[in-house]
Amino acid sequence: MRDRAAFAHALLDAHAPTPQGLRASKGASIDARFAVYRNNVVSGLIDALEDSFPATLRIVGPDFFRAMAQVFVQNAPPRRAVLRAFAHGFPAFMDSFPPAQEIAYLADVARIEAARIEAFHAADCDEDAEAWARAMSGDLSSARIALHPSARLVRSHHPIVTIWRMNARDGVIAPVENWTAEHALVYRDANDAIHVEQAPNGAATILSGLRNGETLGDAAGQAIDSASESDLTGVILLLMRTRATILAETGAKAR
């Protein structure tokens, strides 16, 4: 094609002229025909974002959502044919989109929705109950633990889990009684259900530490240092429930 660049540019820019060199049958308008492609591309991508971010859509309403999505589509079109990566970039765009900044929690709620999509498609991982049993009978504090591939942590200064739940499908919107920071833990369970749980402050610190390769003991130490109460037993139960894997059992011998 002589001018694919002009065709591509005009798809995303509604004010760009219809590209040169196109033909339509007698009586048909080339502009109207080209507009079909423009609409397919822009509306199709906005629709895909609507499908991916139902709670965000409910919070801001369809007019605001589609206007915001259109700016995102035009400024940062997908780079890949797998649209998950495109959806993943939408919350960061909200952080930089002035009209959305007025809703301080919006981008973090959207991050929960992006995390749910990633959790759905994340790698599978065999559970190893025996490794857990061995670790429990040894010294768990020196264990290195890998979170399940589906596990995602979304940290926030806002009550994002409460707000997400109210705005998720079938959620009931009500005043937020306790406006405190909430971190979200998103994961896929053994029956392929996607969960969104509030991770207590200490647990979020421990999970971040484990993800950085720290032992459970060191990660828990960080949680105590960060001056928030952490319930280590609660964290261990959470790790087991979310299908984390014991990577290395240095166990009693290491001490």
């Binding site: 060199g21 196109l22 308008s29 492609y37 498609h121 991982c125």
Partner: protein, 282 residues
């Protein structure tokens, strides 16, 4: 090139996860299922397990919508993911479109038209060679639904597809709804197009519904929306094609405003009836 079996010469449907429970419970599920490759490029999760269950009861066709065969250069990462998907699920068929969807790193999520010139023919053939070589299997190439034509085109679409098939050895996927949509949009006769189509290379047929509009100058404009039943004109053209070619694997595509399972299953049964009639004749 490895042999991967064939789709059965029967009716199949585009798989939608919302239909999964009814499909696995069906006494006579469709003979094959087709999925969009890009929806199965995650590392794991329930979608792959669903595909494995489906493939245990029916044949599988992987249909790409994002490779951009008519684009400037193939995305090597995307091609590698397609190869991985085909390796993992061993589908009976892989197909893509005569279209482009990427330019300079942007993906437009639509099947965009290309002019039919010697230069674009060379490029499409090179990309199909590359795809077949990376996937280590033959592919099918589908005729597009288009809304504009190009002044620089020097080949008809049917000649273009004939040359692609003969040069690359790929098969063709004949989308009869796309033919009907193009015939209305570009004011040609669908039967003339089908008479010129290289039927010897056709290995699968697509049938779908379209939306009928008028553009702002009042000219008829059909949009390939896949959001409703196949129209009667397309059914007639389909029966004529099958009468000529004999039975071919035939897919009902319904991607938007997805109906209840029995509605989609009935569309497949209607195609199956036409195929069986021809099989009985033979």
């Amino acid at each position: 090139m490895t042999l991967h079996g064939h789709l059965p010469q029967r009716a199949g449907v585009g798989f939608k996860p919302t239909h999964f429970a009814e499909i696995v419970a069906a006494v006579r599920p469709p003979a094959f299922f087709e999925v969009h490759a890009e929806n199965y490029m995650g590392a794991g999760g329930p979608s792959h397990r669903q595909l494995e269950r489906l493939h245990a009861i029916a044949a599988l066709s992987v249909h790409g919508v994002g490779l951009s065969i008519g684009g400037d250069a193939l995305d090597k990462t995307h091609l590698a993911q397609l190869a991985h998907l085909c390796e993992r699920h061993q589908p009976e068929c892989f197909s893509e479109h005569l279209a482009w969807s990427t330019h300079e790193g942007a993906f437009f999520n639509d099947l965009l038209p290309l002019p039919y010139t010697r230069a674009t023919l060379d490029r499409v053939c090179a990309h199909i060679d590359e795809t077949q070589s990376v996937l280590r299997r033959r592919m099918l190439l589908e005729n597009p639904a288009t809304y504009v034509l190009f002044e620089e085109s020097e080949l008809s679409e049917t000649d273009f597809l004939r040359d692609v098939a003969s040069r690359t050895g790929c098969g063709l996927l004949l989308d009869i709804n796309n033919v009907f949509v193009c015939a209305a949009n570009h004011a040609f006769n669908a039967r003339d197009y089908l008479a010129a189509f290289p039927m010897h290379a056709v290995e699968e047929v697509h049938l779908a519904g379209h939306d009928e509009q008028n553009d702002r100058d009042g000219a008829a404009l059909l949009i390939d929306t896949h959001n409703r039943p196949v129209c009667d004109h397309v059914w007639r053209l389909y029966a004529e094609v099958i009468a000529q070619t004999g039975p071919l694997p035939t897919l009902i595509e319904w991607d938007n405003d997805i109906p209840a399972w029995p509605v989609l299953a009935r569309e497949a049964e209607r195609a199956e009836a036409i195929l069986l009639r021809k099989t009985a004749d033979a």
